[in-house]
C-alpha cells in the first residue's frame, strides 16, 4: 500500500525530472547561440521557469518534512532535493548568463570559438550524466562526473593564461573567458548533483 508521503515524494521526483530536462535544453540553447551566432532569446524564460520550479521544490520539500517527518532514504532524498534542484536552477541561470554575454558582445563570428565549444561539449555531457544519474539513481554514473570536472577546470585555467599573455582581440578573449567561467560553474554543479545522487542511494556524504 502506498504511503501518504509517497505522493509528495513522487511529485518532487517529477518536478526534478522536469527541471533536469528544461535545464539541459536551456544550456544547449545558449551554447548553440554562441557557436552558431543566434541570440538564445528563449533561454530567459527557461531560466525563470527553473527558478520558479526550484522554489516550488523547496516549498514541497518543507511541506513533506512538516507533514510526515521522513527518515532514512526518504529523508536523504529530500535533503538531496534541495541540492539537486539548486543545481538545475543554476544550470538555467548560467545559460542565461551566457546569452547575456552574447547580447553585450554582439557578433562573435570572427572569434576562434573552438576552446569554448569543446569545453561546452564536456560540460553538456556532465549535465546529461548528472541528470541520468539522478533519474536512474545510478551511483556508478554519478561517480564518473568529478573526473570530467577536472577537464573543464583545466580548460578554464588554460584560457585565463592565454588571455593574460595574448595580444589578440579583447572582445573574443573576454567573451570566451566569461562563458568558460559559466561552464566551469555548471560543471561544479553537475558534480554536486552527482554527489547528491550518491548520498540518496548510499548515505555517503560528499567529502569537503
Amino acid at each position: 500500500m502506498a504511503r501518504l508521503m509517497d505522493m509528495g515524494l513522487n511529485q518532487l521526483n517529477t518536478m526534478l525530472l522536469d527541471m533536469s530536462s528544461l535545464s539541459q535544453t536551456a544550456v544547449a540553447a545558449s551554447i548553440d547561440a554562441y557557436s552558431k551566432g543566434g541570440r538564445g532569446s528563449e533561454v530567459r524564460k527557461m531560466a525563470e521557469r527553473l527558478q520558479a520550479l526550484h522554489r516550488q521544490v523547496s516549498d514541497l520539500s518543507m511541506e513533506v518534512i512538516a507533514r510526515y517527518q521522513p527518515v532514512a532514504s526518504d529523508l536523504r532524498f529530500i535533503k538531496a532535493c534541495f541540492e539537486i534542484s539548486y543545481g538545475f536552477f543554476r544550470y538555467g541561470r548560467y545559460a542565461l548568463d551566457i546569452v547575456e554575454v552574447l547580447e553585450i558582445f554582439g557578433d562573435l563570428a570572427k572569434c576562434d570559438r573552438s576552446a569554448v565549444v569543446d569545453t561546452a561539449k564536456v560540460t553538456q555531457e556532465m549535465i546529461r550524466m548528472s541528470a541520468d544519474a539522478f533519474a536512474r539513481r545510478d551511483v556508478n554514473l554519478a561517480r564518473k562526473i568529478p573526473a570530467m570536472d577536472d577537464t573543464v577546470d583545466e580548460s578554464y585555467r588554460n584560457n585565463l593564461m592565454k588571455v593574460m599573455n595574448a595580444k589578440g582581440n579583447l572582445k573574443c578573449s573576454l567573451s570566451g573567458t566569461l562563458i568558460l567561467r559559466y561552464l566551469e560553474r555548471i560543471a561544479d554543479h553537475a558534480t554536486y548533483i552527482g554527489e547528491s545522487v550518491d548520498y540518496i542511494v548510499t548515505g555517503i556524504e560528499p567529502t569537503a
Partner: protein, 273 residues
C-alpha cells in the same frame, strides 16, 4: 520465523562497543527470554551507555517491553517466564546469586505506560511510598525528598499548595510526572520507561520528553516507544527490534538517517509488511 531475521553481526557488535569516553552502565549479553514455551527474546546483546537516553523501537510483539523488563528482573514476575544470558549492571550480573531482585529494582527503576499513582494516597505519600517501604521514617528527610523530586519533575509549583490531594486527582500528564517522581525518590541509577507518553496529549508529552532529556544528566534512561519521532527527538542511541532479535543499534541520528539494515529502513520508513 525467528531464524529468518538476521541480528547484529560480530562486526557491528564490535563497532558498537563503547568508546573509552562512553561508559557502559548496563550490558546485555546473549539474553534469551521465554513466556512458558514461547521465546520472546533471542540472543540480545546491547550496551546501555551511562547518562544517555537509549530508545528501543519496533513493531508490537517484537520483544521491546520484554527486554526492558529483563533489565530490572520484572520479567521473572510473570508466571512461567524464564531468562538465560546475563544483564550486567556496572559489571555485575543482576541475575547472579549475589544480587537481590528487590535491590536491583531499587537501582533500576521503572515508569509504566499508563500513569499509575496509588489512588488512595496523597501526592506527597505517592512520592515517598518507596522510601517508606524501604523503612525510611524520618519526616524531615521525607519532606526534603518530596520537594526535591517534585521540583525535579517540574511538578512542585503545580502541587506545592495541595500536597495532601489524592494523586489520582491530577491530570494524566501530572500523574505520569508524579510516577516519575516516585521512581526518582528512591534514587535509582537507571530509569526504565515503557511507553511513558502513549496515554498523554501532545502538551503533556512534550513536558515528559523535556524531563527525560534533563534526567540523563543524573540517570541512565532506557525508553520503549512506539513513536519513532519521539525516539528521534530524545534518544542518544536507538535500538530496533524485530521478532525478538536486536536488528540494529546505533546513534539515533545514524539510525534514522542512514540505517545499515534493510529491515530497519523498511520499518522506520513505514514500508513494513
Amino acid at each position: 520465523m525467528l531464524e529468518s531475521v538476521t541480528s547484529l553481526d560480530v562486526e557491528e557488535r564490535q563497532r558498537l562497543e563503547p568508546h573509552d569516553a562512553l561508559e557502559t552502565k548496563m550490558e546485555v549479553v546473549g539474553l534469551d527470554a521465554w513466556y512458558s514455551t514461547k521465546q520472546a527474546l533471542v540472543d540480545v546483546n546491547l550496551n546501555v551507555r551511562s547518562n544517555k537516553v537509549t530508545a528501543i523501537i519496533g513493531p508490537s510483539g517484537c520483544g521491546k517491553s520484554t527486554l526492558i523488563r529483563c533489565l530490572n528482573r520484572m520479567h521473572e514476575l510473570v508466571p512461567g517466564s524464564r531468562v538465560t544470558g546475563s544483564v550486567l549492571l556496572d559489571g555485575k550480573n543482576i541475575y547472579g546469586s549475589d544480587l537481590d531482585a528487590v535491590d536491583v529494582r531499587r537501582r533500576v527503576g521503572m515508569v509504566f505506560q499508563k500513569p499509575n499513582p496509588f489512588p488512595n494516597m496523597s501526592i506527597a505519600d505517592n512520592v515517598t511510598a518507596g522510601l517508606k517501604l524501604a523503612g525510611v521514617k524520618d519526616e524531615s528527610s521525607m519532606k526534603e525528598v518530596e520537594r526535591r523530586t517534585l521540583e525535579r519533575v517540574g511538578l512542585w509549583d503545580e502541587v506545592k499548595d495541595d500536597l495532601k490531594r489524592s494523586g489520582a486527582s491530577l491530570s494524566g500528564g501530572q500523574q505520569q510526572r508524579l510516577c516519575i517522581a516516585r521512581a526518582l525518590a528512591i534514587e535509582p541509577e537507571v530509569l526504565l520507561m515503557d511507553e511513558p507518553c502513549s496515554a498523554l496529549d501532545p502538551t503533556a508529552t512534550a513536558k515528559i520528553e523535556q524531563l527525560i532529556t534533563s534526567l540523563k544528566q543524573t540517570y541512565t534512561v532506557v525508553i520503549v516507544t512506539h513513536n519513532m519521532q519521539q525516539a528521534a527527538r530524545i534518544a542518544d542511541y536507538t535500538a530496533f527490534m524485530y521478532l525478538g532479535k536486536l536488528i540494529e543499534y546505533d546513534e539515533t541520528t545514524t539510525l534514522f538517517e542512514n540505517p545499515r539494515q534493510e529491515l530497519t529502513e523498511r520499518y522506520i520508513t513505514g514500508k513494513f509488511g
